[in-house]
Symmetry: C2
Subunit: 140 residues, 2 copies
C-alpha cells in the first residue's frame, strides 16, 4: 500500500509542525510513486511536471524529511546522493548497478552482528550504511 506510506509521511511532517504546501505534497507524491532511491535532480524533474518548484525547495524538504525520519539518504560510491521514502521498520539496503544505476532492494541486514561488534568497542547508538554494487544482468 503505497498510499499509506504517503499519508504516514505527510502526517509525520505535520506532527513536527510542518505545513502542507503544494511543492511539499508533490515531492512526497513523487517519492511515494517511484519507491526507489531518487536524486534531488530526479525529484525536481518529476515534481516540476505537476507543480512549479525550486531546486532549493527540494533540498530543504529533504532536510525536513530526514529530520522527520521518513526518508533515507544513500551515498553512492561515486559521490552521488539519493533519497528514498521509507516507512517505519522498513530498514533495508540496495544493490546498485555500476553502469546503469539500476537499483534493487535487498532485505539482507546484519544489524545484530553489527551492534555486537560495535558495543564491544564501546560504541552506542549504532547505525550503519550498506550499499552493494555490481553489474546487473542487463548491462553485463
Amino acid at each position: 500500500m503505497p498510499k499509506k506510506k504517503l499519508e504516514d509521511a505527510l502526517s509525520s511532517l505535520k506532527a513536527l509542525g510542518h505545513r502542507l504546501t503544494a511543492p511539499r505534497k508533490a515531492i512526497l507524491e513523487v517519492m511515494a510513486a517511484e519507491s526507489r532511491p531518487l536524486s534531488v535532480e530526479d525529484i525536481h524533474h518529476y515534481v516540476e511536471q505537476q507543480t512549479p518548484c525550486d531546486l532549493a525547495t527540494v533540498y530543504r524538504n529533504m532536510d525536513a524529511c530526514l529530520e522527520a525520519d521518513i526518508v533515507q539518504k544513500c551515498m553512492l560510491e561515486n559521490g552521488k546522493v539519493l533519497f528514498e521514502l521509507v516507512g517505519e521498520h522498513d530498514h533495508h539496503h540496495h544493490i546498485i548497478c555500476r553502469k546503469c544505476e539500476r537499483t534493487d532492494r535487498i532485505d539482507l541486514c546484519l544489524t545484530e552482528e553489527m551492534k555486537t561488534v560495535a558495543s564491544s568497542l564501546g560504541f552506542t547508538e549504532v547505525s550503519h550504511v550498506l550499499e552493494l554494487y555490481g553489474i546487473c544482468s542487463a548491462c553485463k
Copy 2:
C-alpha cells in the same frame, strides 16, 4: 609491518607506469604512517609539513591510487570522503563516531552472504560499502 604496505603501494604504482615523485612519495608515506582513513585535506596538511604539494596533486594521486587499487574510499554519512591505504586481502570496514569522527577498524565482513543475495538478483562483480556509525565511549 607498515613499511611493507608502503613499498607495495609504491611498486603497484610503478607497475602501472607511474613515476615516483616527491609529492607522491610523501602522500603515500603519510597514509602508511597514519593507517586510518584520512580526508584529502588531512593528507594535504600532513604532506605539506615535509614537501610542498598542491591540493590538486593530492586529488590526482587519490585517483591514481584508486585505479591501482591500493587505497579504499569511504563515504561518510555526512558526505565527507576519506581515503585509506590498504594492502591486498585487507578488506575491512570502520565504525565512526558521529561526534568526534574517531575511527575504529572492524573486521566483521559479510562478503559471502552478499555475493549470494546479489547473484540471485543477477548481479555480478559484486562489491560493497559498509560503514558503521555510533557514539564512542569518550563522547558518550
